[in-house]
């Protein structure tokens, strides 16, 4: 894994949603949907992101694609800091100042990470104002490049296609705008893309309601694919499909991955799907990553008590098999007012006193296996 290239690096990503109340719409509280999340996605791999509903996994995906603006944190794509791409210029400048200039002035260059170093060289070369104007000069192009790099496939095949426009327009709209394909070759390219996902090319003149759920999901995939992206975020992409169609679509996605060298971030609550498709699995609980490990390691030897409880809940298709299930008590606490210390401690069967006081950091226990727990592996 170490020789592989990091495609997306998420550092300390935070996304809070304000709760407003009263006449003046004052902010009375924050929903801490994603709270300090860091992970890497390597080129060509499939990362599964699991967690129960409300744990912030979809928010991570949406923020990654900048459908939500992150509250703080850094998103690095292809060794470029993309965090400021979608900010208004003044805000972007402030971000660059707070993130880089302050660090460059006060800290020792020897301690910088690879990315920081890259920007440090630029700063050394151009000076502070040159640094800003260089990075802020071509934001529209950078945005376009970002959209071309990352695409998304949505959960609901019925709501993800505009019911009033034809498939041809749905699929070609983005690529034409970003000049991935020329206007003159739309028909030919759309046809090829549709046939690649298993839809008859002549059906491009139809409307979405003329297709079944599985076909629509394929069209959604074709729409993302024609942008020629490197990363596709699949947000519960197969959750709404019935089982037979689900496996077809998953296999289609795996075929496309091989063919186009795609990277997937596969968001799902379905552990069996995750087990089938992923190379690496990230488990989230209440806005935090609790465990991040290669699939085999995670499924065979989960270290976090929450992951262990999840694993014990996977149904086994054998009526005689009696498995010891770990039943968690209580409900997921509210992300508005999360528990102190470890967020899992009120429900954790092996929680000790320290768990309610000190928040466990994500530690690398074995190479590539990260756990955020004070007593990893203590739940048997």
């Amino acid at each position: 894994m170490s020789e592989k290239k990091v495609l997306v690096r998420v550092e300390n990503l935070v996304k809070y949603f304000p709760i407003r109340a009263g006449v003046f719409k004052r902010i009375v509280a924050w929903v801490r949907a994603v709270d300090d999340v860091s992970f890497d996605i390597y080129e060509g791999e499939t990362v599964g992101l699991v967690g129960e509903s409300g744990c912030g996994k979809t928010t991570v995906g949406m923020t990654l694609l900048r459908l939500y603006e992150p509250t703080s944190g850094r998103i690095i794509v292809d060794n470029e800091d993309t965090t400021y791409y979608f900010m208004p210029k003044i805000k972007a400048k402030k971000y660059l100042k707070n993130t880089y200039i302050k660090k460059f002035k006060n800290e020792d260059p020897e301690t910088f990470t690879f990315i920081d170093k890259k920007y440090y060289d630029l700063y050394k070369e151009l000076g502070e104002s040159g640094f800003y104007s260089k990075l802020l000069s071509d934001l529209p192009e950078k945005r376009s490049e970002f959209r071309k790099t990352m695409q998304i496939v949505f959960q609901d095949p019925y709501s993800s296609l505009n019911p009033r426009i034809r498939i041809k327009t749905i699929v070609s709209e983005g690529p034409v705008l970003h000049k991935v394909i020329k206007k003159s070759e739309v028909i030919e390219k759309v046809k090829a893309a549709l046939e690649e996902v298993g839809i008859h090319g002549d059906h491009m003149y139809r409307f979405p309601h003329q297709f079944s759920g599985g076909q629509r999901q394929r069209i959604g995939i074709a729409r993302a694919l024609l942008m020629n992206p490197k990363l596709i975020v699949a947000d519960e992409a197969v959750a709404a499909l019935d089982v037979s169609i689900r496996s077809q679509v998953i296999n289609l996605m795996l075929d496309l991955q091989e063919k186009h060298n795609l990277t997937y971030l596969f968001i799902s609550h379905d552990l069996s799907v995750i087990k089938y498709i992923s190379d690496r699995v990230i488990v989230m609980y209440l806005g935090k990553i609790v465990e991040n490990a290669p699939k085999k390691v995670l499924f065979d030897d989960p270290l976090h008590p929450y992951t262990k409880a999840l694993m014990s809940a996977i149904p086994v298709p054998n009526p005689d098999y009696k498995k010891k299930r770990i039943i968690l008590t209580g409900d997921v606490p509210s992300p508005v007012n999360p528990p102190t210390g470890c967020r899992f401690h009120p429900r954790c069967p092996v929680a000790k006193e320290i768990c309610s006081k000190e928040e466990p950091q994500l530690r690398e226990i074995q190479p590539g296996h990260f756990v955020a727990c004070h007593f990893p592996g203590s739940l048997k």
Binding site: L67, R147, Q151, I152, F154, D156, N162, I165
Partner: protein, 304 residues
């Protein structure tokens, strides 16, 4: 698509009230289009140099055919009777054109304005929404007739001024409606998908959001088209609208003010002065309401 259109049309014409609505509307359109043939814009009292009746400079100004201002009952020459020396039939026929003019211009302008305000407020949200909606509230809080009177005092009276007043105070309902619909549609995944594709906000609104939200607005606009004519008539009745003698149903009712109660002992003596322009108005509003109902049935997916 074609089969769907056919099915929609078939459904539309199975509904008797829809048929009545469209028939009435077609009738009014025909009257408006062929007004110069049905009621020729000439004044028979003043022959030109060839001995033919004089052509009117402005066909919308009803010719004065008699110097007596008392109502004259319907006769062969004047099938709807006369009032203030003017032929009621002529006024009703040319008033149809006026009604369409007022309705179409005011509704299209105020709807367009409402759509723009409502889309911006709904799509961008935040403080933009807050500011625009509070402005809408302010406009909604002003009684319409009062506002129209003040405006016509400032601008001067006249049909065009009344239309301006109706546009300025007529966009709020549309803005509210489209905003509410957009709030609903903008969370749909196809809008998020368009954002993820980097489509520009303007195109997202025009191509992805409005086509999915516009139909309730069109239905509402259709229904409003009829009722606006009544509002305009009310203003004309108060003397704020069309100038004296203009072929407009409301200003014709203005003439009848002194005769509405009839003469002593005969309450219905001058029934024709109120009946014909009033009937035209009622049928016009009814036509648009029935058409609006029919369109709503067609566009509402829940009734499909």
């Amino acid at each position: 698509m074609n089969t769907e259109l056919k099915r929609t049309l078939r459904k539309l014409f199975k509904n008797p009230s829809a048929i009545l609505g469209f028939a009435l509307l077609a009738f009014f359109i025909l009257v408006a289009v062929f007004a110069p043939l049905i009621a020729p814009p000439i004044n028979p009292l003043f022959p030109d140099e060839n001995g033919n009746p004089m052509k009117l400079d402005d066909p919308y100004i009803m010719p004065i055919l008699s110097w007596s201002s008392d109502p004259v009952p319907p006769s062969k020459d004047h099938p709807f009777g006369m009032i203030a020396g003017r032929d009621i039939f002529y006024g009703v026929v040319w008033g149809t054109r006026t009604a369409f003019k007022i309705g179409l211009i005011v509704v299209s302008a105020s709807t367009l304005f409402g759509i723009i305000i409502g889309s911006i407020a709904g799509y961008f949200g935040g403080w933009i929404d807050e500011v625009l909606m509070r402005i809408t509230d302010i406009f909604l809080s002003i009684p319409f007739l009062l506002a129209a009177m003040v405006l016509t005092t400032i601008l001067g009276s006249g049909l065009d001024k009344v239309m301006i007043a109706m546009i300025i105070f007529g966009w709020m309902a549309t803005a509210r409606l489209i905003r509410a619909n957009i709030l609903q549609v903008k969370e749909e995944q196809f809008v998020l998908a368009a954002k993820a594709l980097g489509i520009k906000n303007f195109i997202i609104i025009v191509r992805h959001i409005l086509p999915n939200t516009i139909f309730p607005v069109l239905v509402q606009a259709t229904m409003r088209l009829g009722s606006l004519v009544i509002t305009a008539a009310a203003l004309s009745f108060l003397g704020l609208g069309a100038p004296i003698g203009y072929a407009d149903w409301g200003s014709m009712l203005n003439y009848t003010r002194n005769y509405i109660l009839g003469s002593s002992g005969q309450a219905l003596a001058y029934w024709y002065t109120v009946f014909y322009p009033g009937m035209a108005m009622v049928l016009f509003v009814l036509a648009w309401n029935l058409v609006g109902d029919a369109l709503r049935d067609v566009f509402d997916p829940k009734l499909k």
